[in-house]
């Protein structure tokens, strides 16, 4: 596989504040890359840079091996971004879907292409093509917005929470259409989604972002605290059910947010007895996601109203007999945390 994007030392600043800092990132051609992270972690900024909507303050971008020096229409037309709440143009559905083709001067088979794109997102062209923008529900609007991009047959389709604020049926149709585009056209998909099933079920790779950086190429548990200082150099986060999580205090003593790799959490059905791990907390399995192309499963456990995720092998999963709703112990060391 060859890289469609190569990002080197990318930095983006708004008003002298660094919002994105990516030393190195490669995205393979035809891959589906999921991006997760809390609000303000730099996801949308990264998407805008990948969609060539804004230039980074520093760093280099290579697209299909070509060093991107100037962003022009030719380049921007290779990647298209679907915003979370996409805005339709104040025109008919047909004119919305045809806009990008018209902008490119493509007139041949215009009607057939527009109708095909509408069918891909589950909208009957006969019924919907003539409708105005205000005659659509939220889910239908988002589907039209996706059709407007699919019709362009882009090399890269970038999606910012495409199913976040719409009904389940529209969400499912959009998901299918995205996967179909990749299958038919080999489109590279970059998607920000809070939908964990989406991220881990469909993505070839998942990037976890926090404070403008890619923290890992996997999900991480983010513990915002509040953390309380103990006398023995540790800090403690109290959970709603009375349990507590202990961590070694950060060197600078600045308690903000702790990250915990799912690899560092061991799942156990019984109390492991005396181990070097300081933390043993009890919770209920709420979700399990098979990682795409991996022989591992992400198990999300609700502990005192807080979700924590552990990565286990499929073998361990069947040995432990884990199913959603089952109680399980999570064991991890106080030294396993990284502070940001």
């Amino acid at each position: 596989m060859t890289a469609i994007y190569e990002l080197r030392n990318i930095i983006q600043r708004y008003s002298n504040r660094t919002v994105l800092d990516i030393p190195d990132l490669e995205i393979e051609k035809g891959a589906i890359v999921g991006i997760t992270g809390p609000n303000g972690s730099g996801k949308s900024t990264l998407l805008r840079i990948l969609a060539f909507l804004e230039r980074p303050a520093a760093g280099e971008i290579f697209f299909n091996g070509e060093h991107v020096r100037d962003i022009d229409d030719r380049l921007r037309r290779k990647a298209t971004l679907l915003l979370q709440e996409s805005r339709l143009l104040k025109r008919t559905v047909f004119d919305n879907v045809a806009y990008g083709l018209n902008a490119r001067g493509i007139r041949k088979d215009l009607t057939a292409k527009v109708h095909e794109a509408l069918r891909m997102v589950g909208l009957d062209p006969g019924e919907f093509a003539v409708r105005s923008w205000f005659q659509l529900s939220g889910g239908e609007s988002q589907r039209v917005a996706l059709a407007s991009r699919l019709v362009l047959e882009p090399e890269v389709l970038i999606l910012d929470e495409p199913t976040a604020s719409i009904d389940a049926l529209s969400g499912m149709i959009i998901t299918r259409a995205i996967l179909k585009a990749r299958e038919m056209l080999g489109t590279t998909i970059v998607i920000v989604s809070h939908d964990v099933d989406w991220a881990y079920g469909a993505s070839d790779e998942v990037l976890s972002m926090f404070s403008g950086r890619i923290r890992s190429k996997a999900i991480e548990n983010i513990l915002h605290g509040p953390w309380q200082k103990n006398h023995d150099g540790t800090v403690c986060m109290h959970l709603d059910d009375g349990q507590a999580i202990t961590a070694i205090a950060p060197p600078d003593g600045d308690l903000f947010t702790a990250l915990l790799d799912p690899e560092d959490i061991i799942l156990s059905m019984d109390n492991p007895g005396s181990t070097s791990a300081r933390n043993t907390v009890k919770g209920t399995v709420v979700r399990m996601n098979l990682e795409n192309g991996e022989r591992s499963v992400l198990v999300t456990v609700s502990v005192g109203g807080f979700n924590m995720t552990s990565r286990v092998t499929t073998g361990s999963l069947s040995r432990l007999g884990l199913v959603p709703g089952k109680q399980v112990l999570m064991v991890f060391k106080a030294t396993a945390f990284r502070w940001v």
Binding site: T80, L88, L89, K90, Y99, A103
Partner: protein, 231 residues
């Protein structure tokens, strides 16, 4: 009150019998205001869009000047244009004083700040998502500008109608520049002023009804445009 009621009755008779002098003022008003608003929109919409869409040094000063000109009194516009087009003014050789062309110039000066300011506001208030959406669909800079303006068309239409309301109802420019010459430059507003001065309330009321009818139609269009713009 009796003379007012009598005035209304006579006004309807004048309107329905098509009194020539009254209809001359109505047609003159429609002719000059249509010409003025056409030129005002042709110049004002692009200027307003540029002012609202692009950032440049001195933009804030420009906005302040344009917004201040919104409150320009019609008699001041009349005075300024008069100074320019009178025989001794720099444009005196064109013979524009006491002509409809001269009135149109004054109405253009009056309407331009309204169109520029409201179009700039409409463009500034346009959500950034419109621009982003057009860019993600591959619009070139020219297509981006044209499509952004088209997206704000209802707000721009409201700006046009507001300017037209001001132009059609002004009296200062028409009186000072046009001179209220019967059959030639007499408009609805100058005729109302004259007839009232002569105590001819019926003619004044008849013309007032026509003016109100035009204003009502214009405002209905503005209201419809605003509703469309916000949907």
């Amino acid at each position: 009150m009796g003379y007012l009621v009598e005035g209304f009755k006579t006004a309807f008779v004048i309107l329905f019998t098509g009194q020539e002098e009254t209809f001359s003022a109505i047609f003159t008003t429609l002719k000059v205001s249509t010409f003025s608003i056409t030129i005002t929109l042709a110049v004002g919409i692009p200027l307003g869009f540029l002012l609202g869409y692009y950032s440049f040094p001195g933009k804030r000063v420009c906005r302040t000047v344009v917004d201040t000109l919104l409150a320009l009194p019609t008699v001041v516009v009349g005075l300024l244009v008069y100074a320019f087009i009178s025989r001794v003014g720099p444009l005196g050789s064109f013979g524009l004083l006491f002509s409809l062309k001269g009135v149109a110039i004054g109405q253009f000066v009056l309407g331009l700040p309204i169109v520029v300011s409201l179009t700039a506001s409409a463009t500034e208030q346009m959500e950034n998502s419109v621009r982003l959406t057009l860019m993600t669909l591959g619009a070139s800079p020219g297509q981006l500008a044209a499509s952004s303006l088209w997206e704000g068309r209802y707000a721009v239409l409201a700006a046009a109608m507001t300017a037209y309301s001001r132009i059609i109802s002004e009296v200062g420019v028409s009186m000072m520049i046009g001179g209220n010459i019967k059959w030639r430059t007499r408009t609805i507003t100058t005729a109302i002023a004259l007839e009232t001065g002569k105590g001819q309330f019926a003619e004044g009321i008849a013309l007032g009804i026509v003016l109100l009818g035009i204003a009502f139609t214009v405002n209905a269009v503005v209201s419809l445009a605003r509703r469309r713009a916000s949907s």
